[in-house]
Amino acid sequence: MDRRLLQRFGFFEMSNEFGSRTFADATEAIAAYAPAPKDSETAKLVNSICNLPGGACPTYNLEEQLASEKPLSYETALSISGGTDNTQYFASATAKDDGGIIANTGFKRQAVRLNLDQRLGSRVRATLNTNYTHTVAQRGLTNNDNTGTSFYVVLSATPSFVNLGKLPGDTFALNPFVPSNPVQTAALMKNDEDVWRFIGSLNAQWDAVQAGSHYLRFIATGGLDQFSQQNSLFFPPELQFEPNDGEPGTSLLTNSDNLNFNVNASAVHTYTPSSNAFSATTSIGLQHAHRELNVARITSRNLTAGQEIVSAGTNIQITEERSEIKDLGFFAQEEFLADQQRLLLTAGIRADQSSLNADATKLYYFPKASGAYRFRNPTSWIDELKVRGAYGESGNEPLYGQKFTGLRITGKVGGVAGTVAGDTTGAKDLRPERDREFEGGIDATLWGSRANLEFTVYQKNVSDLLLPRQLAPSGGVNFEIVNGGNLRTRGVEAALGLVPLQKSDLTWLFRTTFSLNRSLITELPLSSFIAGGFGASIGEFRIEQGASPTQMVGNDTLTTADIASGQYPGHAVGDIVVRKIGDANPDFRMSFTNDITYGRLSLHFLLDWQHGSDILNLTRLLYDFGQVTPDYANPIPGKTETVGEHRLAGFQVVSKNYVESATFLKLREVTLTYDLPATFMHSLWSGARYGRLSVSGRNLLTSSPYTGLDPEVSNFGNQAVARNIDVAPFPPSRSFWFSVELGF
């Protein structure tokens, strides 16, 4: 029986600040905020704050007032494994608490896991894996808003001479520039996401025939993923921004229940002739999956007595959304291994039907084939070289609801319920996308396992893309979900592992990966459409034929060079056109992992490098409008405009003023570990097998020309296309840890 205990302690701290303009004195502040002679109120306000000697303005670091928590965090993990020939088990329990750098933010997780492997008789074997997890994420209030409440949106309009910190008596100053104080908001609000999740699977294998050349087995697997998620948000009426909508106090409660369940049954037969010249494995099977999700949201405003329960509000909005998906698939595959396991050929086909398609009874077929050959010791320095190639097709299902054309019955007008037509419709032949991929590559082990190299080249063609065809709104319906168009991706992936040093007491393992891909919309049967963003005047993502799907387009002003190029007939210098201003796809990405072991010490560090990719830095746009960007007032030699004014002058006409490169090099992790000597361990406790002490740091350094908080940013969350838009994100943090690991 093996037992393992891991205990680590650490803390998080803010790793990058956006910065804010320093105002030298009241004159500078008044020139920025109260230029009109009639605005004496703001001038009075500025004078009352900037009252240091000489009219100087105080400077507060508002980001630090918001995000300077350094909370103690921990992680504890205990696991036990063991068993006999017939029964093996693994059990573990973990608890983790990551503090957040902003008040009332953080992440906690508790999880238990139990895996059991049991032989039932000589021919049957069953495996059970279960995992039960509870997580609580306290998320804060970040990214875009239109209400002046999100942390960095407020900071973008608040100059640095305003004090937003806590006052004596546990109160907060009112922000005179924006009716919202983010330090107060963080201290008093709640945004908790509480998830209980069970994932389990049961696998049973029956070796029906195991005689001579034939080995026939039947395998059945069942899996279950069930979670309940509760999001509770509370904004008490004491918050400075709450009374702005006339309904002070807001409480939100969302309950989601999800059940994913699948069963697979398959029969696998392997034929190996007595000569052992080859082995042929045939598999056939079927798979059924069922997914159900039910989300109910309650938004309650104007909370009586400032109570958090949603029944305390006078304005209560309730919505519910359900989805249910049923899939059925069949597969058959043949695998041929020959030539002393040097040659491997496989071919297979899958047939799938789904309730998500317009025709739920139709089967869609997806074939695949692959081959690989291993050369053993082809040259002295190559231990083994595998050459491989594969072709496969797969499908991407439509989302639940896309095939329906519905009526909306949940609306009311002045309290009276009415029905309105919906504004989306689905094509009558809505079907899965078809993804065809060719890939080829080599895997090589070199120099007596001192190096290994993997190299893959691939091309993927996706046809029948699921596209929201934007209809002319005068028809009364905005979108039709249709299949059409073609997307092509080509890429290269490589990984190299090296052991540059291998001595008795010093080893160094080095591994690097490289990936590069380029995508193109090769065919689009409908007019180009917007896939994300805020509009052409600021920058948006547009899907159009002949362009990268992740291209950013925006308004741009034609220059003399543009007209001279002849690409804009009918236009003149100074005309505004919408054209490409960037692309969210990086040129390439590389990572570097190093593991150096010297005696009992080992050092591990991981570097992550991204080259290229563009970000639309709208946080800087908001800061420019608030005149608080750190470089706003910097002069431009030979011009009266300042740096910030020059950028702003391009607002809506030169949208690439706010597009920046997302190139970065990040030191993601450094860990130094010390293995305690076995004698020392035994002297402490006879039961100890090993002990390890380590210190590590995560997200330690970021080197990037990007002026925003972090080049890995997405206002709209996890998106395939519309990423890399930066609007008031959560500030990045680094963490430091000390851990003790014991085996006993």
Binding site: P35, D145, N244, L328, V416, G476, S528, F625
Partner: protein, 478 residues
Amino acid sequence: MKTLSKYSLAACLGFAVLAACKDLDVPNLNSPDLGDFQNNPTRSQVLSVATGLLLGTRTGIAPQNGYVSLLGIVGRESYNFDPADPRFVTEMLLGPLDGGSPAFGGNLWANPYRNIRSANLELAALEKVPLVNDAEKESMRGFTQTIQALDYLKIISTRDSNGAPIPTSIDPLAPPAPVASRDSVYAHIVRLLDSAAKHLDSATTLTGGAFAFPFALSPGFDGFTSTASFRKANRALMARVQAYKGSFGCAACWDSALTALSGSFIAPSGDLNLGVYYSYATLSGDEVNALFDPNARAILTHPSIVADAQLQAGGAKDDRVVRKVATLSAPKTAQGLSSQYQFVIYGSNIAPIPIIRNEELILLRAEANIGKGGVADLAAAVADLDTIRVRSGKLPLYSGAVTQAALLDELLYNRRYSLMFEGGHRWIDARRYGRLGTLPQDATTTATAKRFTKFPFPAFECDPRSPAPLGCGTQVGF
């Protein structure tokens, strides 16, 4: 043999599971299907869709970037200083209005067209639905066409000389209808209103008297829920449309306006606020009136409203300013603009927004008489203008010249203050009387504000059309 039977056992199990799982159909769990409504409408569905037309026509009116607010900005009735979106100043004042901005220049289009389609779906369903008698059907046709006319009026008020398409098909996949000229759209609106009135009359005839609509109307239509009373609201809208056409140069339209007014709910000594309204509520699924901005977080009154007001006898400003505008403790500023005034017209987030009221009808009668221009007409106009001056503005009686030009100035002043921040009236009136040039050009930190004559077509409307019609792209101001 042992092996074979095991094979067949497995195969049987497989097929059994297969057969059981073949039914993979999952219906729409979140809403009823439109196809069912189109093919087999039921009585409760057509009644609910009729109420839904009031929901649809209300969409986009009250948001802080909706019909009242955006037309208020271009008409210099209001500002929007929302710190989260500088485009309320940079696009709506400096311009150009951008059809590619769905929240600004490309706004105020999709929602009314969605409701126009809902009305067409309702009219088609009324042909088929069982258990609804002919009188009820006629009454609902009258209601549906009136609301459809109101939606077209809102569209053409924003796009003006760009025109607007008049869709004839309820199939959204049909090619988009060609863009019709402004005058064609107005002719269509007149046709709809007259056809609606005929249906309402036919309903009354079939039952031998007026009766209440079989479906529920929102509280904003209280007092206008029978075929006879609702017809008055229909005629009120017709009066507005005829007056607009008169100001475009249609001399005969002034008389049509007066005829329509005589069939409407005009009442010079009655409640000026009598009329039909968009309703708001805080119930689940309902909308609140976002023009209610008690702390002036975003919506401010344009200072010229206070500066240009005439004075009451005692020296106080026009009572419409006293009632509708309040002074803030400190001015709010954004991008160099400043205002120390906010609207107090909408007292809560469930305050209704007028569609058309008695006060406007009295002013429309005055306008029609001014347009006709005869001595008796102008005298009648002075009488109506005085009614408004005294009852609404607490101003002294009109003492200026009784000429068409002078009375037109007085009319536009009264329309500006009586209908302040209710539905973009100042901008629409300034445009149709060629006075957009009189709107102030406020100076921001980067440029001076421009005046706009119309909104462009949204980019979404232009992209599927080839070639793109005039009116696509951006609208530069002057």
